[in-house]
């Protein structure tokens, strides 16, 4: 490669990586999968920049050299029919360039599509890898850890530096599961389970405070834009601690009076009918109509996208339709400020670990 081509590639990769937030951008790959995809992006960009520059060079020469002006106004240029040699050249070179691109494409397709690792078991017959059933609903995400008997929602907790496998299924309409920093998306179909894996790099996770952003990437209704979730990527030991805390989750009686009142309201308004408050929800996923609220107190967001604070919890409970149009909870409620306060207070006590 010539010097200027190298610098062009360098410049373009600089531009590609220059902006975007590291917890969200595909240009800050945070794991093996995203890295493979990022490298393909660099390779294809390099080839494409090469093509574009070739075209632009010829184009510029043409524009400079072959303009009609006063002197040659009446000249008739030679009527060339074509050139077989040239046709062969610009057929062969693209084929070569595409082959260079096609080989890593095919290899990566098979590599990233290989989810056989999720069935590997150790001597005790236990699954080695972490497998998570992602269930997408309008407009929230549920994450079920079938091997640990845990159901949670909105915040996906994963261990870093190892393959995490996902089974994806939607309950209502098609969605698409996307954690840009960790790797490309996979559709969440209504028909069948899709499987794929992602890897979360521990160093990159640390850089972003262990939290990556995830999004729904397939139009799924009015609030498609807000169907966000967060990925909490923890080192293996912290992840294990979280798992055992969730497994040993116990419903604690709220201590303050306000929180107690909140719990009463929670039950009296039959929130409990849809929202489970323990992570061991054994109902089939179709029956789990609303996000599981166990460990709600440790959430990173309210409703998947609002900043996590008491004010937002209250606003959300009172008026979810305003924040997520078309959501299936209700459009708005008529709680008094005191009631809202109590509900929020109660919800904040739901924690698996401090």
């Amino acid at each position: 490669m010539k010097k200027w081509q190298l610098s062009l590639v360098f410049l373009s990769s600089l531009l590609l990586a220059g902006c975007g937030e590291p917890y969200l951008s595909t240009l800050h790959p945070a794991g093996e999968v995203a890295e493979i995809q990022f490298n393909l992006l660099l390779l294809s960009t390099a080839i494409m920049v090469l093509v574009i520059s070739t075209v632009v060079i010829i184009y510029t020469i043409v524009l400079i050299r072959f303009r009609r002006n006063k002197e040659n106004e009446n000249e008739i240029p030679e009527q060339v029919e074509g050139s077989n040699k040239l046709e062969v050249v610009w057929t062969t070179i693209p084929i070569i360039l595409l082959t260079i691109l096609a080989i890593p494409t095919v290899i990566a397709t098979f590599y990233l599509g290989d989810t056989s690792g999720m069935h590997k078991v150790n001597a005790q017959g236990e699954r080695e890898a972490v497998v998570i059933n992602v269930r997408a609903h309008q407009y929230w995400w549920e994450f079920e850890y079938p091997d640990y008997g845990i159901v949670t929602s909105q915040d996906l907790v994963v261990p870093t530096d190892e393959r995490v496998y996902f089974n994806l299924l939607a309950s209502d309409v098609k969605h698409s599961f996307w954690v840009p920093a960790a790797g490309g998306k996979m559709d969440v179909n209504t028909d069948n389970e899709n499987t794929f894996f992602l890897v979360f790099d521990s160093e990159k996770a640390e850089e972003v405070g262990n939290i990556f952003y995830g999004k729904c990437a397939e139009l799924c209704g009015p609030s498609h834009a807000l169907m966000d979730f967060k990925v909490v990527a923890l080192p293996r030991d912290e992840f294990d601690a979280w798992v055992s805390a969730m497994q040993n989750y116990e419903e604690k009686e709220p201590e303050t009076d306000v929180a107690k009142y909140g719990k009463e309201l929670f039950e009296a308004n039959s929130c409990i009918a849809c929202h489970a408050i323990t992570p061991d929800d054994t109902r089939p996923y179709e029956a789990r109509l609303a996000p599981n609220l166990a460990d709600f107190g440790n959430r990173t967001t309210v409703a998947g996208f609002l900043e996590f604070n008491k004010e937002n919890i209250k606003k959300w409970i009172q008026n979810p339709g305003e924040f997520k149009p078309g959501n299936k909870m209700y459009d708005r409620a008529n709680f008094t400020d005191e009631e809202l306060d109590a509900l929020a207070e109660y919800l904040l006590t739901l924690k698996a670990q401090e």
């Binding site: 969200l24 595909t26 184009y59 303009r67 029919e81 494409t105 790797g183 490309g184 998306k185 990437a217």
Partner: protein, 630 residues
């Protein structure tokens, strides 16, 4: 009384257009209809960009936004781009091959009216307040979930318009196969005729899957079938496959004629023969062929499996080869030529780099694992706007300036045309270039808003600003058209650009109703250029001067289309519809509408429609009055 120059009042003109079967008038109708929907789709686009100008904007509600981009996409593809291309096909192809009309003038009119009524049907949804909201792709699970009749408007409107498109496709193929003038062998056909031919072939094979997929969804929504109901054994992926088996060829249906238009414009203003004509023809066929084998690249993330993904990835990449051939052939047409930078040529020059960018980002998305990241983000929004706007819309704008004298007998103002180009070109790149990065930075497409502080604010702002530039360009074009129509100078010569090469530039602008007084004899590729170089002032005739047989006009196409339109409303309100507001009256209206349609068809079939003749003497009169014909 001369059949050609007869004067008519305003209502006379309206009636003439309502009943016309003349391909030149139908071209006008397509241009006006397509132009109207183009403006409508443009306004929708502008509203979309206003909403996304800043984070958490509340200019449009979430539901309204979804309706807006659904209608924008649907309108632009089906009701603007396709009909506008049909306008130029109708106006130019019969002239280019030396024909008096298309093979089926009646069907041609029917095709237009079906498109028109389908478009009106779709857009009536705004007045009902139940607007399609599941994207122009209307994936089955979401479109089954959508409340109200929005999706039904989409389905029935597209079904009606789709029938029209299919008919026009068949008509153009038949015209090109059977109506070429003597000497016009296939390998002497102008490039635009070639691309029309191949694009029509794609229409022929791509629209039936659309028809069926629309029926499937329509039956599910209106008549209680279970095609997409997973719990009853249905499968929603079928919709995705069928939609893209149609949808991918559809983008080639749009881009191939655009290529054809540029293949006329570039040689004309380079004063040079199209470089590598036969390889251009070959490339056109190859693109058309490959266009049918790559649909699943829209579905890499659906989970089709590694083998399917790998196969479709490689097949998709292969399309770059014929497309590259075309780009280089255009460049080498200009190489060694004598370039005159007119407005149409400006668009051609703007097209080449813009389309190359759109093409190469397409190849990037063909890299399946990379597409897992790019799919359904703003990257793809940028990609397809680079191909459709940078390719098709540029071609349409170029052709508008290029063929305006041939279609309407006046020249559009060059200076205003220049400003349209500047604003549109700058605005286009401003709007869409940054969207590549927005996608890479993690912005999914079809989001009604985005949250602040995620690094997406500036990019979106720039993009919205660009949209206003494009709008200004479009407004200048409309002003230009109005000014030209009101007080533009009439074109008095056959070949106002001076360097016309094909036979359309050998007859008056606009041509007489019968096009060619005598069907010409074609002696070489670029027939008109060949005769000019021989020093001839007109094309050699292939037949003696004689009476010309012409088809009759007919009002029946409107009635057939209207019948279908009425039946569509009935179908929406059948008792079994999913919305639950049906009534037996729906069935009655459905049956009445179909009766009107079939009745009109029967009337058409039972009567002898023999057309009429323009007498030899009248033709001779015409010549005396100013030597118009040939």
């Amino acid at each position: 009384m001369n059949a050609v120059t007869a004067k008519k009042g305003f209502w006379g003109t309206v009636w003439e257009y309502l009943t016309t079967t003349d391909h030149k008038k139908i071209a006008h109708l397509y241009f006006i209809g397509g132009g109207f929907f183009f403006v409508l789709g443009g306004i929708e686009a502008l509203l979309i960009r206003i909403q996304l100008m800043k984070a958490e904007n509340d200019f449009l509600a979430a539901q309204t936004f979804n309706e807006m981009f659904t209608m924008h996409g649907t309108t632009m593809i089906f009701l603007a781009a396709t009909p506008l291309l049909f306008a130029f096909m109708n106006a130019v192809v019969p002239l280019q091959i030396g024909a008096r009309d298309v093979a089926f003038p009646f069907l041609n009119a029917l095709g237009f009216w079906l498109f028109f009524f389908g478009g009106i049907f779709l857009n009536l949804s705004w007045f009902f307040g139940q607007v399609p909201d599941a994207g122009w792709t209307s994936y089955a699970s979401l479109s089954m979930d959508s409340s109200g009749h929005g999706i039904d408007f989409y389905l029935i409107g597209l079904q009606i318009a789709g029938f029209g498109t299919l008919m026009s496709g068949i008509n153009f193929i038949a015209t090109i196969v059977t109506m070429r003038a003597p000497g016009m062998s296939f390998m002497r056909m102008p490039m635009f005729t070639w691309t029309t031919f191949v694009a029509s072939g794609l229409i022929l094979f791509a629209f039936p899957p659309l028809t069926i997929s629309i029926f499937l969804l329509m039956f599910d929504r209106l008549f209680g079938s279970q095609f997409f109901n997973v719990s009853m054994g249905g499968n929603t992926i079928i919709w995705e496959h069928l939609f893209w088996i149609f949808g991918h060829p559809e983008v080639y249906i749009l881009i191939l004629p655009a290529f054809g238009l540029f293949s006329e414009i570039i040689p004309t203003f380079s004063r040079k023969r199209l470089f590598g004509y036969s390889s251009m023809v070959f490339a056109t066929f190859l693109i058309g062929f490959l266009g049918f084998m790559v649909w699943a690249h829209h579905m890499f993330t659906v989970g089709l499996g590694n083998v399917a993904n790998a196969l479709f990835a490689v097949a998709t990449m292969a399309i770059a080869v014929p497309t590259g051939i075309k780009i280089f052939n255009w460049l080498f047409t200009m190489w060694g030529g004598s370039l005159k930078i007119t407005v149409p040529m400006l668009y051609a020059l703007g097209f080449i780099p813009s389309f190359v960018i759109g093409g190469v980002t397409g190849i990037m998305q063909a890299v399946a694992p990379l597409d897992y990241q790019l799919h359904d983000t703003y990257f793809i929004v940028a990609h397809f706007h680079y191909t459709i706007v940078g390719g098709v819309v540029f071609a349409l704008l170029a052709a508008t300036h290029f063929y305006w004298p041939k279609m309407f007998g006046r020249m559009l103002n060059e200076r205003l045309g220049y400003w349209t180009f500047v604003f549109f070109f700058v605005g286009f790149h401003m709007t869409f270039f940054i969207q590549h990065f927005l996608g890479l930075w993690g912005m999914p497409r079809r989001v009604y808003t985005f949250l602040g502080g995620q690094g997406l604010d500036l990019g979106n702002f720039i993009s919205s600003l660009g949209a206003f530039f494009m709008a200004i360009g479009a407004v200048i074009l409309v002003v230009n058209i109005v000014l030209t129509t009101v007080k533009g100078k009439k074109v008095t010569v056959n070949d106002p650009w001076g360097d016309g090469r094909t036979m359309d530039w050998a007859i008056s602008s606009p041509p007489p109703v019968y096009n060619f007084k005598q069907i010409p004899l074609v002696r070489d590729y670029d027939a008109w250029w060949y005769e000019k170089m021989k020093g001839n002032k007109e094309l050699p005739p292939s037949e003696p001067l004689q009476d010309i047989h012409m088809p009759n006009g007919s009002i029946i196409p409107i009635f057939i289309s209207l019948g279908l339109f009425i039946a569509g409303f009935g179908a929406m309100y059948v008792p079994s519809n999913i919305v639950g507001d049906g009534s037996p009256w729906g069935v009655v209206v459905l049956v009445l509408g179909l009766a009107l349609m079939f009745g009109s068809m029967l009337v058409r079939s039972l009567r002898d429609d023999l057309g009429y003749y323009i007498r030899k003497e009248e033709l001779e009169d015409d010549v005396e009055r100013g030597g118009k014909a040939i």
